[in-house]
Symmetry: C2
Subunit: 149 residues, 2 copies
Amino acid sequence: MIDISEILENFRAFIKSKGLKYTPEREEILIEILKYKDHFDVDELHMELKKKGSKISKASIYRTLPLLIEAGYIQEVYKQEGRAYYEVVINKLPHLHFICIKCKKVEEIIDPKLIELIQEHAKKKEFHLLSYHLEIFGTCLECRKGGMV
Amino acid sequence: MIDISEILENFRAFIKSKGLKYTPEREEILIEILKYKDHFDVDELHMELKKKGSKISKASIYRTLPLLIEAGYIQEVYKQEGRAYYEVVINKLPHLHFICIKCKKVEEIIDPKLIELIQEHAKKKEFHLLSYHLEIFGTCLECRKGGMV
DNA sequence: TCTCTATTGAGATCTAATTTCAATTTTGAT
DNA sequence: ATCAAAATTGAAATTAGATCTCAATAGAGA
């Protein structure tokens, strides 16, 4: 389970270490994001915050996301139709996304062999791993039954 | 080695099979793309065609790329700063891209274990694989030496 | 050759993301 | 607490890749 207060304290330290200011907006965005169990995008997050009475602008969200990525809390996982999708990656290992291009369903696959394989290569190249996009695009069984592709 | 005339004939058949028309523009775009040994983007391709006296518009390139992807000649491999990058995938197997976020260098890794792993999962899920994005973002050794991250 | 339909180029349009800027807030120092 | 310097914010303007519109053109079967 994720300990929010610990994360917020870490985030504050991260922000401070960069000589930036720890604002209520940044904290509120992080708290809201931590609630996501799966993928989200900026519009979705903005609407969610609005629904709760928050006045946080999209601009602030766009400005905060790179910080959260840099701090290691979230990752951009894929882009579709010009829109970026993110997910919380705390305690999450690299995983494959199988994305159906027809119904847009996304399925996650976590495979220790995959993780090992990636880390092995990164180690060999002395590459410092920050994030990853591992998407497999195709069509799922249900959509193929529907007479497509 | 790639046999261009065979590919063009296949492409013509593909276009015809969809009830579309085989135009000089489409052929020219495919021929030009087949020359790329690594990644390219629309602007780059458009400039290259222009340099050779071609009048092909960007609109036509944008309209042709999805056909080439569907026909299996190219793939969109990653997006960076709002721009999509493509590569020729004829005779190419799934491979990882290690992308340095500092110097933007991209290194390809082909690993039979990776291919096997992906195909295994796809088969299990009865997922029809069309394309993939396998990007690992991070920093390379040289850039880390430069005092960053 | 004729006709139907797809395709093209040029420019308009769309829209996610970024930038600008004045007002506000944070924060460390006093 | 108060103050000043610098970062941050929201709103709106701007940017830019990608898509769409449309009139003119060209491919392809009859």
